[in-house]
């Protein structure tokens, strides 16, 4: 492929935009894995679930997918806190979260995927909205709105989460529960309740991220698996539990992936995140903005 400046700039810009979307996808995991230390590998499955619910709402009622997913966030919150309750009672309380807890989430991932396959089949599904299709043109830049809109909403979501974590009592309690449960208990706060709330929020973000995903690309049930490597690579690279780090890492990964698929072909893109993950783990396990 001929190397040209136009191509390079466009690849970088679309990488940044995709990175914004990755930030939304990862912020949930940053919360659960980074802060609560719950290795929720089923997160991508919940994102796909969000995509399908947005698809159903869009196809049957004609609702905008983002609006639909925001409406469905409370539902995901309830689902998330329910899952945490099961996880806590069966694994965390018994001190078995490392092996059986992981297997539990893997089972959830698998059940969700197979159920979606059984119900919807393996055809690709997509949504319709006014901003899907047109692009903005500046000089040599091409900005498709279907990526710009999710990117902006996603950055707003991540910023909102960050403000919640640093400026509200509940958010500070969430940060504290990661550090010292006993101290939190001395403040008359139930750490389990805080964790339940935080995990609920983490799953709730999956609803929105799912809508973004189906806006950006057509979705079929196994697409989520490609995101497992990506999500955890971003989470680890950004520094566990740091949302600003997550945004930076997400954009970095977005740019590298976009450059790879522009200059080497899109079929190589999934390998990039894995390289990132291994490199980070080998060189700087604490991540970019790790504490």
């Amino acid at each position: 492929m001929v190397f040209s400046f136009d191509l390079l700039v466009n690849a970088v810009v679309s990488g940044i935009l995709i990175g914004g979307f990755y930030a939304a996808v990862t912020s949930g995991v940053s919360l659960s894995f980074g802060i609560l230390d719950i290795v929720n590998i089923a997160h991508p499955a919940f994102i796909i679930l969000g995509s399908y619910l947005a698809y159903v709402a869009n196809a049957t009622l004609g609702v905008d997918p983002i609006v639909a997913s925001i409406v469905m966030m409370p539902l995901f919150y309830v689902l998330g806190s329910g899952i945490y309750q099961i996880y806590y009672v069966s694994f965390e309380k018994r001190g078995q979260e490392s092996l059986r807890g992981l297997a539990f989430f893997f089972g959830l991932l698998f059940i969700t995927e197979v159920t979606l396959v059984l119900y919807f089949g393996v055809d690709y599904r997509y949504v319709e909205a006014a901003y899907i299709g047109p692009s903005w043109h500046f000089a040599m830049l091409d900005i498709p709105l279907r990526i710009l809109v999710p990117c902006l909403v996603s950055l707003a979501l991540t910023a909102g989460l960050q403000i919640f974590l640093t400026h509200s009592f509940l958010g500070r309690a969430v940060m504290a529960v990661a550090q010292d449960q006993l101290a939190l208990r001395l403040m008359a706060v139930d750490p389990i309740k805080i964790k339940r709330i935080a995990f609920g929020i983490s799953i709730a973000t999956a609803s929105l991220a799912g809508a973004f995903l189906i806006i950006i690309q057509p979705v079929e049930p196994s697409v989520g698996r490609e995101y497992i490597g990506r999500i955890f690579a971003i989470c680890v690279l950004g520094g566990m539990g740091s949302l600003p780090g997550t945004v930076i890492a997400a954009m970095l990964l977005g740019i590298v992936e976009s450059l790879t698929s522009t200059f080497y072909g899109p079929s190589w893109a999934p390998a990039v995140s894995f390289g990132f993950l291994l490199l980070t783990l080998a060189v700087r396990p604490a991540g970019l903005l790790g504490r």
Partner: protein, 337 residues
């Protein structure tokens, strides 16, 4: 029981099973039995790392596929250059070496960190290896690869019987290895890592080296299980070879059977494998995967020690337990971060 005696008993059992299957005369038994035995190997291999050391490997499919694709690569190499095809036991050794080396490399990069990172890396490994294979035209790329299976082989006769026999021997080898590890210094080292890695490290157990040994053995066995697969299936395609069902099955079988000894994966694989074969024929293959998923989740929640654990607690109950006295359950104190 001494290991040679143990091995001998299993060889006799295998011979009996093989003779019985031949006597029944239906080749379908060999086709179905091959898959069940393959899961015995995969489950046992997973358990050497997962059950004994407590490190979760989600990439069983990747190691399995590595074995299968090294066979494809060698098959292409030999047929294109008009060489004689290699016998399956040699292919298994090669597959085992390839997967073992990859397991070692992965382990070296991630096992120094917390356990979760290893699990995530294995999950991502499957995606990356699939990307590599899809982009590698020599082994068929995304179109897949055909392998022409010989009709007959001396002295077994029908080729599928030969494959069945080989897989059975591998299963016996895997079980014997697992049992051997259990009763050796290596096994006690593994158990100390599983129970408390920090304490093990502090008392001089070379944890990283032991973990690497476990990863290598486990990966190699998975690769060996995958090596004959192209000959079994005839047409190998990346998306099914790297499928999540291998990963979920090789985790579900030990966890459902019981992870602390070699018996668990064996029971789990025989039960779940046969159940799946029956469900695939009578219901559908997607539904049987759903059954496995649900069984996995239910078992890890309700019966943490699997079927073996259930049998144990049942046998150890004293009469007074049945009239209302419950054993005192020690609650875990807060986890040290």
């Amino acid at each position: 029981m001494r290991t040679p005696v143990f091995l001998l008993i299993w060889l006799v059992v295998s011979a009996a099973v093989f003779a019985a299957s031949v006597w029944l005369g239906n080749d379908y038994i060999f086709f179905a039995g091959y898959v069940v035995l393959q899961y015995v190997v995969l489950g046992t291999a997973w358990n050497i790392l997962g059950g004994y050391c407590g490190y979760v490997n989600f990439g069983s499919a990747a190691f399995f596929a590595l074995g299968a694709y090294s066979t494809v690569a060698i098959y292409k190499l030999t047929t294109e250059n008009d060489l004689y095809g290699m016998p399956i036991p040699v292919l298994m050794l090669i597959g085992g070496v390839v997967s073992g080396v990859v397991g070692f490399g992965m382990g070296y990069l991630t096992l120094r960190l917390r356990g979760a990172f290893f699990a995530i890396a294995t999950l991502a490994l499957a995606v990356v290896l699939q990307t590599l294979v899809v982009n590698w035209d020599y082994v068929g790329g995304s179109r897949g690869a055909y392998i022409i299976r010989p009709e007959q082989i001396e002295p077994v006769g029908n080729y599928i019987r030969y494959l069945f026999l080989i897989m059975m021997l591998l299963a016996v080898a895997a079980i014997t290895t697992a049992r051997l590890i259990e009763h050796s210094r290596l096994g006690y080292g593994f158990a100390s890592i599983r129970d408390d890695e920090l304490a093990a490290e502090a008392s001089g157990v070379p944890t990283l080296r032991l973990k690497l040994i476990a990863t290598t053995i486990s990966g190699a066995l998975m690769g060996m299980a995958g090596a004959p697969f192209p000959y079994y299936i005839g047409y190998l395609q990346p998306s099914s070879t790297f499928g999540l069902d291998y990963a979920v099955n090789s985790i579900a079988m030990p966890l459902i059977g019981g992870t602390t000894s070699w018996v668990g994966p064996l029971i789990g694989a025989l039960l779940l494998g046969s159940l799946q074969q029956i469900a695939t024929v009578t219901i559908s293959s997607a539904v049987n995967l759903l059954i496995v998923g649900f069984l996995l989740v239910i078992f890890v929640i309700i019966a943490p020690n699997g079927i073996v654990g259930l049998i144990h607690t049942f046998l150890q109950r004293k009469p007074e337990d049945f009239v209302g006295r419950r054993p005192v359950e020690a609650e875990m104190p807060g986890r040290v971060p």
